[in-house]
């Protein structure tokens, strides 16, 4: 009887350790999933993120000024 109890206790302990390991793995998977999931809605639209180039070729104006209208 004692041997059966002893074995049962060991198995309960193993199951508890297994449950703890599963809990840690679940947390890890949850965090991994969140980090790798693409954002449902982008913070900014492509139009909002488009940066315009403020450079202007002023030689075009100089060239046009020389011409007759």
């Amino acid at each position: 009887m004692n041997k059966v109890k002893k074995r049962l206790n060991k198995e309960i302990f193993l199951m508890a350790v297994l449950a703890l390991s599963i809990a840690i793995v679940l947390i890890y998977l949850g965090v991994f999933k969140v980090l790798n999931k693409p954002g449902e809605k982008p913070v900014l639209t492509p139009q909002e993120t488009r940066i315009i180039n403020p450079q202007l070729d002023e030689e075009v104006f100089d060239e046009l000024e020389k011409r007759n209208y």
Partner: protein, 193 residues
Amino acid sequence: MNTDQKKPLIWLSLSVSTVAFFLIVAIRPTVITITKLIKEIEEKEAASLLLDKKINSLVAAQKVYAINSQRLPMLNQALPEKSEFPWLANFLESTALSSQVELSSLTFEKIDLNPAPPVSQSQKPSSGQTINFSTNAKGDYLNLKNFVSLLESSRRLIKIELTGISETKKKEEEIINTTLQLNISGVIFFENE
């Protein structure tokens, strides 16, 4: 193993089970929420940086615009939004007049002066429309040369694709009159927005 030795194992099992239970039920959602929030903060910080860059470029563009605002109408003169056909015909005539050549013919390709607006984005015409033209001018060599040079120096975008000079002789009362005839064909651009 006596009862005192067994008890710690049972208590340890209970403790580990309790920790596992709370890890799944309480800690996991909290950690996931914290991760989501950290990710959101990082995304918004990146967006904020992009917006800062955009604001800087807009400020720079505004300065450039302010400096060149007086000269911007020249762009419309060079590449108008519409064909500006009356101006075009008038320009060619007045150029011929000022360079003292005689325009014997002036031909434009068929153009739609009131084009229907595009129904959808896919039907939108590509920017940069053209009008093909061809003209014949008569005069002496220097005047014809001046005519071509005036056309080339026009602020309106005109591309002269082909020029040809031919000689015609007329015999009038024993005198042979020689006139030069210049054939020009080219393309005139407009934006057609």
